[in-house]
Symmetry: C2
Subunit: 152 residues, 2 copies
């Protein structure tokens, strides 16, 4: 699995396979046999309208597995873990089905937000390792002063 | 869970929730706490070009959980299980994100095929309870004489 890249400590960027033919394609997402698979909690889509920003969010316990089968998404992550080797780092990742068809695995305790940067809407699939639970997440406004990133 | 409908014995049609706001939506898919959830094997997308038929396929062991977040899909299922109360039945189901946003759970030993019937391509998400294994599936051609359904 030497194709897996890391940026902020614990965030994994995993290239995903697409098998294309004249009828369409099969897009791999996540397999229980993958070395980066932990467990299955819940799968859901976020549909994000063109241009829209959804930010900021933080999970205390949830590991998320993001893939984008439609549209082009910008994902911004901020490492606020004081004991992390990448503490304070902000990273910007792009996800789409064409040039950046990757799985992004985001561990808990990372602030993140995303924006649909395509003219068409975006579909983001999240396969999370626990079920949705409002008590394990936190939010900040888009213009939060504690994260040094300006959405446009 | 009295909203769950059955047609061919074992095929479940589960209405899925969508939470819409001005920024987009959250589309539920599958939760490990759902009564119909069995286990997680693999998640992948089938992209089907407009008008294209992919048929026929049969799994000896795999239970599939289908949802369609983009496009409009026709799913046709045939019960060839001689010991089934619905033996010989063919059923036609529609899946899309607007009017038919359902999870269709297809148990093993059902012949099925699908067609993208929208002008735009379709995206079909399958969350299967086992990983892909070519030895547990069988195929027939679109015009198979053993299934009394004519694709157009």
């Amino acid at each position: 699995m030497d194709k897996i890249k890391q940026n902020i400590n614990g965030i994994k960027i995993i290239p995903l396979r697409q098998i294309n033919d004249e009828r369409g394609a099969v897009y791999h997402v996540l397999n229980s046999t993958d070395s980066h698979f932990t467990k299955f909690g819940e799968a859901y889509f976020s549909k994000i309208n063109s241009g829209v920003v959804k930010a900021w969010k933080y999970h205390k316990e949830m590991t998320q597995n993001f893939s984008v089968p439609y549209g082009k998404l910008k994902l911004v992550c901020f490492d606020s873990r004081e004991d992390s080797a990448t503490y304070g780092i902000i990273t910007v990742l792009f996800l789409d089905p064409d040039e950046n068809y990757n799985l992004i695995q985001v561990p808990p305790k990372i602030w993140y937000g995303f924006q649909c940067i395509s003219k068409q809407d975006c579909l983001l699939l999240n396969i999370a390792d626990i079920s949705h639970d409002p008590y394990e997440s936190m939010s900040e406004g888009i213009n939060s002063s504690s994260i040094k990133y300006k959405w446009r």
